[in-house]
Subunit: 656 residues, 2 copies
């Protein structure tokens, strides 16, 4: 308990939930890291595709990025409308579910879940990859460093969204300030020099063209450039994380993210063209990223260069955090609908959905371990999920407007339908190109994983459905037979624990059957059958008879198979045949385990026995546990830990 | 359950215990592997020490091994007497405990426990080391191969001692037959050639002497040669594994082991001298073990050579098995005395002490993982434990004879005292030399581990002691107050599960308090406070009132901290203040979990709540669990699995 408090913080009350929520200013670092970080790899991915076309290719970056920006604009408008239409979490899951039906919603949810997990793994491994290329001596520890960062992000998120937003605010704002500054300064210089500025540090010479610019090349460049848009959906998935009024805060955060991202993308495209900066082969030793070349060309290799590049690395590796904000929120929605374990719908001690955070962390950790923490192996699996979710969300919104249009014709609705319809078409095309281009490199894993996860969700739903059908009962209470139960009590030796148990049995049942099982093992061998009967008469039977009560019936069984559950279940069966309408209560004394060493030092027999009896006893058999605690119980302390309000109220009453 | 049956076999009855035990013929492979395997490294270790003295050193192997043989003879006599004096397990623990007191016994037990664990790790890693030097492509998988062999040996031992004896019989007897044959043949040829036989394959030339033969060198050679004796104590520790009469069987097995071991050691020493075979530097690439040179010299490199060397490797890697026979038996004795968790004293489904087997396996696995499965790193830790245990056992036996001598003077007892006294002196000297020679190489780890483990044993004892003092109660049953308990029942919603629980509460208690806790989380939000009261009146309150019973008192609490345990514990406190003499029974409905997925799909809240209430409710609070099983219970099947006898008896009665 103490450790949890140190690591995660004190338990929070429901009423503190509102103050734990984000303003739009805090929302940018909490939900924008993924989207903003994309500016680092989106243009670079497009330029990499254009690489074989040489300088002619770089000239085409303008139109390609313009198309990306148009799509970004479409997505912005769409998500603006989505947030408005679904103010309590308008993620792809909700939008697809409401407009296209539950199956479509689950497809979107699955796609997003996979994408969030990949985003965590890719983000962290990219950050650590940059660190280890700066300090090669750390290279053998890549995986351990990745897992350490994962653990850190997990802990920060278990503490709560507010904290994680604050922790990640500094690198985010440094990144935004430095890159927006550098790009504006670069554009001003380029325009001042009539479109042909002199670079401070000239970018490396571009290689000669080996391919002509074709439409297919431009399409592929566009599809790769689309990775710049991953993370834009984050705000719509996390509306409930914002403070009142959530729609306003969400709109502001979305606008800030898209505006900054658009500015960065447009600026990078313009400057790449103006300075003649192309992508470089990442496998070559003199590799430099596009943003590194760009910063060098505009401002040289001064301290500002290192601040900008440093903040970029931080943003990349912390972009995993966006998933930690959204994944648990989406899982909660899916769990409330019964497609994920109920634990995902329960707020933890810090009012975050701990099961989602831990699930995300475990899955991403597994993925990092399997792929050894190497980014290049993970990247091809990525973006499939994001674009599938975009498509589902856009199609859902298009259906939304289409239905409204059929109710009432309006030019505004038609316009909105056009936006979302176009968006859906473009994102599905981009998805097809991404899958086709990356299938053999690893996208097949995602393509296989989606139906598997989907199947899992459906199985979970079937399970809950069946359980609910059994438990739901609209009948009134049946009180035909409310005779006290017959009690059964196993006895090993007559000690304080057993005396407590028999006292409980006497309180609740007029008929008691005690079963002394001799298991023939070392610890029991001392308890001799005969001497036990003598002790029984003296210490149990006698006092009960003297009090005028019906004494327990003692039977002694020697179990050749060292089983206590077997003889007890057999007795239950016999009693049920004799008294078919009577309930049976099995009384088990239990040494309460409070510490981990208690579990090591006591055998699990009592627990196993209880489970066997509950599982196979039948519906009219209850198991009553009579506890003995080796350490003093501290109810006041327990109440204070569980619910500080109750403790405070009790203290106030005490003073009054 | 099915998987356990396939892997480990059906559950065995106590009466099958006798047939599961070993005859002396089966005892040799079960307990002799460790001792016989020692012949491979004992003489080699002595020759390695003599290496710097060159050919002059090899000539001294005769006297050194003669001393070892004398000590072996002493140990043989001592253990023969020990088995006779302690027919129900006369291991070092018992002998030291009975004659020198509990602390000495615990020291011996600790030393043996550490030695057994090391024996497992060293044996397996030596075997796998030999395998990977034969097939270098397997080298990267050393650790995994070690762990696979460990798993296999563990499973075979969980099936039972009898099976493990049978599985390991073949390599043992092949080893004994081939080496005894080779050595006899070699001796015959050497004697026929007048002490200077011509080798079939000449051993490599010995290096020139760099040191003179000194007494210290001879002492160190003797101490190293003493490792040939590790494993001799195995039989005395495992007497209870033998069939009736155990002493006779144990004596026979001990004699067979010591006789064969002595023959091998004497033969190896004689032939090494006759053929001029010395140890070689193990780090050099052309390294050959002493036994390999010897076989080559006597019979050449034919198929018999490969059979002999192959059986040697098998014996080495399976010598771990000896620990699996003895470690659990010794741990049982220590656990019965309350110095190890009780689980170590409980026979498992196959009548072996599963906790000991699993504990040994886990510790050895950890050791293998930490040391990467490399033998050389483990060897220096070894033998310290064995010789400490020898010393404790010999000293204990000496004390045994000394006491008897003081009671009645007898020349036989004096002779026995002399044997054991000498044995104790020699083994303690050997121990001192081993620790001194190997301290920095790793023996320090063992020297530190012994007090740590010892401290652990004492802490465990203190725990059990305190628990026992609380539980032991010689008083009679107190029946002053046996009014029915007050029932408390938490309610989430009115479903079948809750109706069962309230029916149970009505059967056992005249007063019931129902607590409806609104936790303010997603899954509960639907249950509105007001509509719940309406449903309660209709489906619960109404029928109970109509039946003329006192209806439950319903309180609704909204818990800002989402805690159910808090409000319940508070109510317990209030009721206890009002009715200090009344017992309280908390009735919890529980969805019984039968499969692993049940645990994933249901939150652990019910379990946590039960534990909190048991831990902090106080001694007069019992927790009654009313179960609902999602799947049909199968009591007959459960009884048949738990205790086949009961099922058979029921079936017979059914037929009659």
């Amino acid at each position: 308990m103490k450790l949890a408090t140190v690591l995660i913080g004190r338990k929070l009350a429901n009423r503190e939930g509102e103050t734990r929520k984000l303003t739009s200013l805090e929302g940018l670092p909490a939900m924008g890291l993924d989207g903003l970080g994309s500016s680092a790899y989106g243009p670079e991915a497009a330029l990499t595709i254009l690489l074989p076309a040489g300088a002619a290719g770089v000239r085409e970056i303008g139109p390609v990025m313009a198309a990306v920006l148009v799509l970004l604009g479409l997505l912005y408008l769409s998500y603006w409308q989505t947030i408005e239409a679904y103010p309590s979490n308008g993620g792809a899951y909700t939008v697809a579910k409401e407009n296209l039906g539950q199956p479509a919603g689950l497809v979107a949810a699955t796609a997003l879940m996979i994408d969030y997990v990949l985003n965590v793994a890719v983000g962290i491994s990219a950050g650590i990859g940059a660190l280890t290329s700066a300090a090669p001596s750390l290279h053998p520890y890549t995986l351990w460093l990745c897992l350490a960062v994962l653990l850190l992000i997990t802990l920060v998120n278990l503490r709560g969204t507010l904290e994680s937003g604050l922790v990640f605010a500094l690198p985010t704002y440094v990144f935004v300030a430095s890159f927006v500054g550098i790009i504006c300064f670069g554009c001003w210089r380029a325009l001042a020099a009539g479109g042909a500025p002199t670079p401070v540090v000239p970018p490396p010479r571009m290689q000669a063209a080996s391919e002509a610019v074709t439409l297919w090349l431009l399409l592929r460049a566009f599809a790769s450039g689309c990775t710049a848009m991953t993370g834009v959906e984050a705000v719509s998935n996390g509306v409930s994380a914002f403070r009142e009024p959530p729609v306003t805060h969400a709109h502001r955060t979305l606008t800030a993210i898209v505006f900054i991202l658009g500015l960065l993308l447009a600026g990078i495209a313009f400057l790449a063209h103006a300075y003649g900066i192309g992508a470089m082969d990442q496998t070559k030793p003199d590799y430099q990223s596009v943003l590194s070349q760009l910063c060098g060309a505009v401002i040289g290799r001064g301290w500002l260069y290192f601040v900008a590049i440093g903040s970029l690395l931080a943003v990349l590796s912390l972009s995993a955090n966006t998933s930690f904000v959204d994944f648990p929120r989406m899982c909660r929605l899916v769990a409330v609908d019964g497609y994920l374990p109920h634990a995902f719908a329960q707020p933890g001690r810090r009012l975050v959905f701990s099961a989602g955070i831990l699930g995300l962390s475990a899955t991403a950790g597994l993925l990092l371990a399997v792929f050894g923490g190497i980014t290049d192996r993970l990247i091809p699996l990525f973006a499939v999920g994001a674009f599938l979710a975009f498509t589902m969300s856009q199609t859902g919104m298009a259906m939304h407007w289409y239905r409204r249009l059929r109710q009432r014709r309006s030019i505004g609705t038609l316009f909105r339908l056009t936006i979302n319809g176009t968006g859906a078409c473009v994102t599905i095309c981009a998805l097809a190109v991404i899958v086709a281009a990356k299938f053999l490199e690893g996208a097949w894993i995602t393509v296989i994983a989606i139906p598997l996860v989907l199947g899992g969700l459906l199985l979970i739903h079937r399970y809950y459905d069946q359980a609910e059908r059994q438990l739901a009962d609209r009948s009134r209470l049946d009180l035909d037979e409310i005779a006290p139960p017959i009690a059964i009590i196993p006895v090993k030796r007559i000690d304080r624990l057993f005396l407590l148990a028999i006292a409980y049995a006497l309180r609740t049942s007029p008929e008691i059957f005690a079963v002394h099982v001799l298991r023939g093992d070392e610890l029991d061998a001392r308890a001799d059958r005969h001497s036990f009967r003598k002790e029984w008469r003296e210490r149990v039977h006698g006092p009960i008879e003297a009090r005028g009560l019906r004494p327990p019936v003692l039977t002694q069984v020697s179990s050749e198979y060292r089983s206590v559950a077997g003889p007890l279940l057999k007795l239950v069966g016999e009693l049920r045949r004799k008294h078919p309408r009577r309930a049976i209560s099995i009384v088990l004394p239990e040494l309460v385990k409070a510490h981990w060493w208690d579990f090591l030092l006591h055998t699990g027999r009592a627990m196993r026995l209880r489970r066997m009896l509950l599982r196979h006893g039948g519906p009219d058999v209850a198991v009553a546990t009579v506890p003995w605690t080796l350490e003093e119980p501290h109810p006041e302390q327990a109440i204070a830990e569980e619910d500080p309000d109750l403790a405070k109220r009790a203290a106030r009453r005490g003073r009054a």
